[in-house]
């Protein structure tokens, strides 16, 4: 009991530190990457190649005045940024970085990740509701509609590897792929479409372009975060990046074989695969335009949901037959 507790605490501290550092690096990386896509240089002044830019940003945000709008629901308004960051961080607990490096390899890891992912809609809606701002309210409304809709294909596509490996434990799912094939390799006709649906739903869950309608800065100024300043805004901002990072790691574990790979330690492969997914997300973000909310719903309910239902069925048949 006490040994498990110590293990949990130590790993939590390590993983939270690693994820937060990785988030700062991801911020820098994204800015450089976007700049290159846009014929710019990106940050160059703070630290070597602008590496310390996220630190400078954070310091700047810390110095900002903390404003709570008049007539805002102050309790919820102040609580939700913290909740957003915690919910995003919480999902990192079950990500298996290697056969041994995992904070808590729950029996129901997949379920836990999806449940925690679903919680992230609450702070976003809370922010929209509590801000006492019409733009934020519209953003919150959109966020709820979007997140609840995309929860369905996300869950169903995540069920495919669960059915194929016969376990909800992320470690076992990765091990099943290491023993046989990655699920995008075999059975590829089930694995690849399920992987695509997972990535699309993940983009929508983490409010990334082309699905960033809750934020939609050209329509809603900054959507739900319109009224947030300083460190509270930074928490929302960080939560978004952590969410994307963790979701990339989960995607890598579910479909791309996690730590499995030749001639290097498993951790390297896991980090590499996570980064690949992460870059894909940002490549999409900085190349595409934004959907309209009704088009977003149409895409989800008319295409992604039926397709993922079919895939779950196909996976079940595959497991029975093979």
């Amino acid at each position: 009991m006490s040994e498990g507790l110590v293990h949990g605490v130590v790993y939590s501290v390590v993983i939270v530190t690693v994820v937060l550092t990785a988030t700062a690096m991801a911020l820098w990386f994204e800015r450089k990457f976007a700049a290159r896509l846009q014929t710019r240089l990106g940050p160059t002044m703070v630290g070597p190649s602008g590496l310390l830019q996220p630190v400078a940003d954070l310091l700047k945000l810390l110095q900002k005045e903390d404003i709570v709008p008049a007539n805002a629901d102050a309790v919820i308004f102040n609580l939700v940024p913290l909740l957003a960051a915690l919910a995003a961080l919480g999902a990192a607990a079950v990500v298996p970085f290697s056969p041994s490096v995992v904070a808590s390899d729950l029996d129901v890891g997949v379920l836990y990740v999806l449940a925690i992912g679903a919680v992230t809609v609450l702070p976003v809606f809370g922010a929209g509701w509590a801000s006492n701002n019409k733009l934020a309210l519209l953003g919150g409304m959109r966020a709820v509609a979007q997140s609840i809709s995309y929860e369905v294909p996300l869950l169903l596509s995540a069920m495919v590897p669960v059915i194929l490996s016969g376990s909800l434990r992320l470690g076992t799912i990765v091990q099943a792929q290491a023993d046989h094939h990655w699920f995008v390799v075999w059975p590829f006709f089930i694995g690849i479409p399920a992987f695509f649906i997972f990535v699309l739903a993940m983009l929508a869950e983490s409010n990334r372009i082309p699905f960033d309608i809750p934020e939609a800065e050209s329509e809603l100024v900054a959507g739900v975060t319109t009224e947030y300043t300083g460190i509270k805004f930074a928490l929302f901002y960080m939560a978004e990046y952590i969410h994307t990072l963790v979701a990339s790691a989960v995607g890598a574990a579910l479909f791309l074989g996690g730590w499995d790979g030749p001639f290097r330690p498993g951790l390297h492969w896991m980090v590499l695969k996570t980064l690949l997914l992460f870059v894909a997300v940002y490549w999409i973000r900085w190349s595409l335009l934004r959907f309209r909310s009704d088009q977003l719903m149409a895409l989800c309910w008319k295409y992604l949901v039926p397709a993922s239902v079919l895939l779950v069925g196909a996976a079940a048949v595959w497991v029975v037959l093979v």
Partner: protein, 396 residues
């Protein structure tokens, strides 16, 4: 010249009814969209009455950038007005100067030398490329946001716009407010080797237009967001006095460069770009087509600029004392945004008695109350962006 069809004004639902008629229960949400909003292209404000995400009624408000330009002009000598109107349509200053000086020249019955006329047309076409590039970038920003693919299109468009501004800088010394047109001709002659630089710039811009087309007109999300959005019928457009690319996107084949040729356009053939549908997609098609046409025109004109003087010579010893004889004149030219008219009443002194500028953007904005209701907030942004409004010229 193609004659426009006679317009039969039909009864249309008046979008300016008081809000009580739409919303007797007071259940709609009023969203003040602008003037500090990031995508109102300056300081435009729309009051959107929303039913959920759907816009029920739109009340546009202009005037936040009013600088009393027309009144100011009444206190300035004719040669001093040019740099003021540069700031009207700050995305295509060249055509502002052109329209203004053409009005003065028409009132003075001053013959502009052929070289100056060609140079003015050449500048106008280059300016059209720069102006439409900026429009494409900002329209993509409206659709994709500053933190996404929209910003990528925007910055790429700015890269090519720089090339055009560099060319203008070489001629006039200024990148933006040129003050190069003057009474009876131009102030700055083309420097040696300029035409080679123009062709080099066009060699870059031409192929990159294909890239932009693949990023926008061939992009599924762009098509989804623009097809059928903000549909404007030709009849309404003509009623409201809308001109330029927006009118041509409604299928009306009207372009002053061809229909009332001025400067070099009576010697150069302009292929007018039109599109059907009158939606945001059609407007994008027309503007991208016009950029291609302008690239072709500049290529054709840049080597054919005739030799000669660039100014008709000063009618009086001190240009500032130029007096325009008693009378009135209206001159309209085709700018990137449509028909820019200058109406001048002179009382025979060295100052205009009244100078009225007819901006195409103001008329474009007047269509918003008709075409936005029924669309969502996202569409409202797209429709406003597709109108290419420049608040500097709307408010003056």
């Amino acid at each position: 010249m193609t004659a426009l069809q006679t317009v039969h004004i039909t009864r249309r639902v008046d979008p300016h009814l008081p809000i009580d008629r739409y919303d007797p229960e007071g259940e709609l949400m009023l969203l003040h969209f602008g003037p500090q909003h990031p995508s109102t292209h300056g300081v435009f404000r729309m009051d959107l009455y929303l039913d959920g995400e759907k816009v029920v009624k739109v009340v546009p408000h202009v005037g936040y950038l009013h600088r009393a330009v027309e009144k100011l002009c009444e206190t300035l000598a004719y040669v001093q007005i040019t740099p003021i109107v540069d700031k009207n349509d700050y995305v295509s200053p060249m055509t502002n100067e052109q329209a203004l000086n053409m009005a003065f020249e028409a009132a003075l019955k001053l013959e502009v030398p052929r070289r100056a006329r060609w140079m003015r047309s050449l500048f106008a076409e280059l300016q059209r490329i720069a102006s439409h590039l900026l429009w494409l970038g900002t329209f993509a920003l409206d659709l994709g946001g500053a933190l996404g693919g929209g910003a990528t299109v925007f910055l790429h468009c700015f890269r090519e716009r720089e090339l055009v501004l560099d060319l203008f800088e070489e001629v006039t010394g200024a990148r933006f407010h040129y003050n190069t047109h003057t009474l009876g001709g131009n102030r700055h002659d083309l420097p040696a080797g300029w035409s080679a630089k123009v062709k080099a710039a066009l060699d870059i811009i031409g192929p990159r237009l294909d890239e932009y087309e693949s990023m926008t007109l061939q992009n599924r999300i762009f098509l989804d967001r623009t097809t059928g959005v903000g549909r404007l019928d030709a009849e309404l457009a003509l009623d409201l006095g809308i001109t330029g690319p927006i009118l041509r996107a409604c299928g009306v084949d009207h372009d002053l460069r061809r229909d009332a040729p001025f400067h070099a356009y009576d010697e150069v053939k302009v292929n007018v770009v039109t599109a059907q549908g009158g939606d945001c997609l059609a407007r994008a098609r027309v503007r991208i087509g016009e950029m291609r046409e302008s690239v072709r025109l500049v290529r054709e004109m840049v080597d054919a600029v005739p030799e000669g003087t660039i100014n008709a010579g000063r009618p009086v010893k001190l240009p500032v004392q130029t007096k325009i004889p008693h009378g009135q004149v209206y001159v309209a030219i085709e700018t990137p945004r449509g028909e820019l008219g200058t109406y001048l009443i002179s009382d025979g002194t060295q100052f205009p008695y009244r100078l009225k500028i007819r901006p195409p953007s103001l008329h474009a904005l007047s269509a918003l109350p008709y075409i936005i209701p029924g669309a969502t907030v996202s569409d409202a942004v797209a429709i406003l962006g597709s109108m290419d409004p420049i608040m500097g010229e709307v408010d003056r």
